[in-house]
Assembly symmetry: C2
Homo-oligomer: 659 residues x 2
């Protein structure tokens, strides 16, 4: 063990293990997690070369192998609980993705939720025996978030009782679906349904794309890999061009809508329930934001106590870089963010389960709020974690650029969350739509409940003179800070509403008024989400009994809230929520909190409890023995397989003769 990191651990003021239990949910869950870790890490089948040393084709090959192995082993070990499967997979996959990810995340759930009983009877055995490997082809080359814009067509032919699927344009080619390029032999294809010359909108169809035994593409199917990406090298995101592909009528997913043999169309009873899946996945992404940021923080904070550099006091040995105030100021607010998002993720998961329970009882009242919340928080947390991971990487000096740090992998694996499952700006605007609707309800005299109830409190939304209110804010009190965040959100919602109003008054249409106010709308959503995060972090403190942990968590929460105020001080000053002396005081307090957190920094990342074998970071090793392992890693680089690279003989040596 590196003596610096050992010393750090001795200085911690709280019991790391107990904090891990809080993060995992219970001591029992931590125990079970470690049991699964032992299974995976002792399994010789999962010993593997660092994927960074492999070619794209080898990476893909390794990923398919792991996907296949996991299927067998999960059955073998009898791991069936969804949370445990998630843990198992994250340990096998480390900082990379699953080749068959979309098969599990989208293909299977869609089959289960949208097949009628007869279809289930056909498809489930094929799935369970792994005859069918599937993907979910929705996005097209030219069409993403706006589903009505999708161009793929499925035209019913009553003569043969088949659908004829086509990609009528280049931009209609299905694009991006994971596992579509090489892995899957079936795809659920989203297409515009036509029957008897009428359009019936978007529906889902099961399309066989590769031959079941040869795996060759079927007639009319042009399928392949979309090429190298920023990360995701092990996944064959694919394209699919459909040229008069005929599938039987029974391959339309018919639980809700139907096409009868004669071609007559039967509408679905309700469309609201499809909401649920999106909400669920977006809630999961909030958890991923926390996870990825927690990994990045673990690496950079451990490395920052091992790394000595430069000097603070002349003549003294080089200090640990975590002793620089600038380094603390970069990292501790991000550490606080990781904890905040962790708790937000827990809340989202619990809320989702509660509301899904209500829905199954027929009570849909909370669904719109949950939908708005999951959209906004997905955007808020992914944007925030995305830039935070890069700050962590760049706070490791040069070695943060080396793949040995794992930080490049963590970043490229994470960054697509800002775009997939709903582009972030679009998500923010969806939340804004809910906020504005709520605001208008208040204006119309309605009393709101739930998270937006702060919009009720009319008197607070009114602008006040700068000097009138701030005296009541206590900068050391989290509830008081949550309150100013709430007021900021309310004021920014009002500001966005006024912008729309002004646009309407200058004779703009509703739609143009909305577009011309969208900067303000995004800002309002952002403030709303920021408030929710501060509030949930504050609420979480109430659940923590252990005094030492409560104390350090309070410090983190305070730092999170004050740092957010400092970064958005214009908003708080502008709204008259805080005055200039208070803003100056915030800066002073932040410095105090940084110094207060310094002794617990390593313990706080240790509590995330990432085993070295999963983190796969030389810089983030638990034992702090960075440098010897960095050298050992580098020597394994493929370019070192020969002492002299062939390019010397091909290009460099001949160059001498010629000149």
């Amino acid at each position: 063990m590196n003596p610096d990191i050992l010393k750090e651990r001795r200085n911690a003021t709280f019991d790391v293990e107990k904090l891990t239990h809080i993060l995992d949910g219970s001591p029992e869950r931590t125990r079970r997690k470690r049991e699964i870790e032992t299974m995976v890490f002792n399994d010789p089948d999962f010993q593997e070369e660092d994927p960074n040393f492999l070619s794209r084709s080898e990476r893909y090959d390794q990923a398919v192998r792991k996907s296949a192995q996991m299927i067998q082993k999960l059955r073998e070990y009898g791991i069936a609980d969804p949370d445990e499967i998630l843990i198992y997979k994250s340990l096998v996959l480390k900082n990379n993705h699953e080749a068959m990810g979309l098969h599990y995340a989208m293909f299977l759930p869609t089959i289960h939720s949208q097949c009628d009983p007869q279809q289930l009877k056909k498809w489930i055995p094929l799935l369970e025996s792994n005859q069918v490997v599937g993907t979910y082809a929705q996005t097209e080359m030219g069409h993403g978030t706006h589903l009505r814009g999708l161009e793929t067509t499925a035209t019913y032919d009553p003569a043969t009782q088949e659908f004829v699927l086509n990609s009528p344009t280049i931009s209609s080619i299905k694009w991006w679906a994971g596992g579509l390029g090489k892995t899957s032999n079936h795809a659920i294809v989203l297409a515009q349904l036509f029957s008897h010359g009428h359009s019936h909108g978007l529906h889902a169809f099961i399309v066989p794309i590769r031959h079941m035994s040869t795996h060759e593409p079927l007639p009319g199917i042009v399928v392949g890999d979309i090429g190298p990406k920023f990360g995701f090298s092990e996944v064959d995101n694919g394209f699919l061009k459909l040229e008069n592909v005929r599938i039987p009528r029974e391959n339309m997913l018919m639980k809700h809508a139907k096409v009868e043999p004669d071609g007559s169309y039967v509408k679905p009873a309700s469309t609201k329930l499809t909401y649920g899946t999106m909400v669920f996945i977006r809630s999961l992404i909030v958890g991923q934001s926390a996870l990825s940021l927690a990994k990045a923080c673990t690496i950079v904070i451990r490395y920052s106590v091992v790394r000595h550099q430069s000097e603070i006091r002349a003549g003294e040995p080089e200090p640990q870089i975590l002793d620089y105030q600038t380094q603390q100021y970069k990292l501790f607010p991000l550490l606080a963010t990781a904890y905040a998002f962790k708790f937000v993720g827990q809340y989202m998961k619990a809320t989702y389960n509660r509301i899904i329970g209500d829905i199954s009882q027929g009570d849909l009242t909370e669904l719109p709020e949950l939908h708005a919340m999951s959209a906004g928080l997905k955007a808020f947390t992914t944007w925030s974690a995305n830039s935070a991971i890069e700050v962590c990487r760049m706070s490791c000096g040069g070695h943060g650029y080396s793949c040995s740090s794992a930080l490049p992998d963590i970043y490229v694996q994470f960054t697509p969350t800002c775009t997939y499952e709903g582009e972030n700006t679009v998500m923010m605007l969806q939340t804004a739509r809910y906020l504005l609707k709520s605001y208008r309800q208040v204006k119309a005299g309605q009393q709101l409940s739930g998270i937006v109830s702060y919009l009720n409190e009319h008197e607070r939304v009114q602008p006040q003179p700068v000097s009138a209110r701030p005296t009541v804010v206590d900068l050391n009190n989290l509830s008081s800070l949550a309150e100013v965040y709430k007021l900021r959100a309310a004021i920014l919602v009002e500001l966005a509403a006024k912008s729309i109003q002004q646009e309407l008054q200058s004779r703009k249409s509703q739609e143009d008024a909305w577009n011309n106010s969208s900067i303000d709308l995004v800002r309002a959503s952002d403030a709303h989400c920021h408030y929710i995060v501060v509030k949930l972090f504050t609420d979480k403190l109430g659940e923590i009994g252990d005094t030492a942990i409560h104390s350090v968590m309070s410090t983190l929460a305070l730092l999170y809230a004050l740092h957010g105020i400092k970064n958005n001080s214009g908003d708080f000053l502008q709204a008259g929520l805080l005055n200039v002396p208070q803003i100056l005081q915030v800066s002073v307090r932040i410095k105090e909190l940084l110094a207060q957190l310094r002794p617990n920094a390593v313990a706080l990342v240790d509590a995330f409890d990432f085993p070295d074998n999963m983190l796969k970071s030389v810089l983030g090793r638990y034992d702090g023995n960075v440098y010897e392992n960095l050298f050992e890693w580098a020597r394994r680089s493929p370019l070192n397989r020969t002492e002299v690279h062939e390019s010397f003989h091909k290009y460099l040596k001949p160059l001498r003769a010629k000149l």
Copy 2:
């Protein structure tokens, strides 16, 4: 030509070609640039596969080939002007690096500037005949910015008149030098010089590392590639471990310091001049910030007029995504930033040349200011461009994640500028040191000249009541805005100075006071740099004669300045430089400016004049024919070389049988 992009070009209000001349420096330079473009693009030797489709070893191979070819062709074509060489290379290299980059950037210049005449006589012929390919090995695994911390030793042995070089620890292994791993046969090694048991600090030595004809590592040399990185795949950044490596006394670079045959050490006359190279390289990096951001803006803005998505008005066709206010708000300030940095880069280059002229006349007075300015602006522009490039990438929706967009390459190629040639936070603190020194000089009654002369104006630095000053600011007047940026900088320098003072008053040492104020110091440097950028952009407008171009450049400059105020509104409010109604007005003005710039957006990126063959972006094509080319590119993906990947037979098919 895509009709949407054609329409955009027709709507432009200015002559694109004339703006290109301004950016290039003159019509003649544009002409010559295009001549060189024709040379490169018509050269069949430079037809190549997209490096994204290659393995690391193939990428490196291709890069060495291009390095070797460029050496021959530049001679052949008689291109010797440094600017023209830079243009030529950037066209050949596109979004990637040069394998022999450090040979040209550091090895050659160091040989030229630090060899004595006898040494020059030996080495120049070896260099000119390409016998010697070199690199510059300074950074060690455990030591970067702080040069005194370097551990490599060079101990003089008078018995044999040799230096014995050693890497005494793991952390002393030379690390990161480009071209060190496989390409170079010599390295300039920075090592702590010992002679007669005395340490004489860091000196440079020419160390042969590979055999001149076999290219095998020499005895005592452990050399290799440091492994895969975030980008730079074509460069063999290397490690070098020295085990009692003996080199002749004459291999110490002896123009300034010397070791006599008997081991006596002769000190250098001055160390100040080494400043020059750093300043030069940092000035170049400012230009790279502009270049990389300009590329990213070109891609995303062209794509944003070709891409249609979602709806603003119900029932109408999907609008171009550049018609969304949120998209304009993301991109136009970045476009303004690219222009701003372009002009700052031009200014830095001119200033560098002027001051170098002064220095050659023995006048060093302006060097400290230039040094401080280049450090701060290097950090300011690279940080800013770094996050901006990612915003551009993520504003392309999903396709921004595809390597076909070129945006992943542009980002990973650019991001190390935040760390190399001086880590950005360290750079900001160096600038802060200069600012604080200047501030203290003013306090001591001195009158400052140059860029920091604003610190002279005592009365302005005093805090004033919020309502006292702002009435004089004209939000439509750039000089007036430059003035508030200047005042903001002055106030933040004062705030940092006060923080140090307070720390000292609570009995902290100078060094601890500095460290405990470093957040404020970085903030002051940032504000100082921001002021310089606004000022230089404003100054540049005075040089532009063409009315139409002047008008659009003014709009951009205004957007740059107002956007900076909006993002830092807390600073301006806190300092009482602007009041709340003015801040609200800033938001309104920004929206107007976005709308004003919209028709010229494509023309403004066209003026950067990147040929498709250099930009290498399917999304950023000049003709806007994105989708057909995206499909064509994807089909060339290596995973598509076979219809069925071997992993199907190895893992997926067997899986069925087993279950």
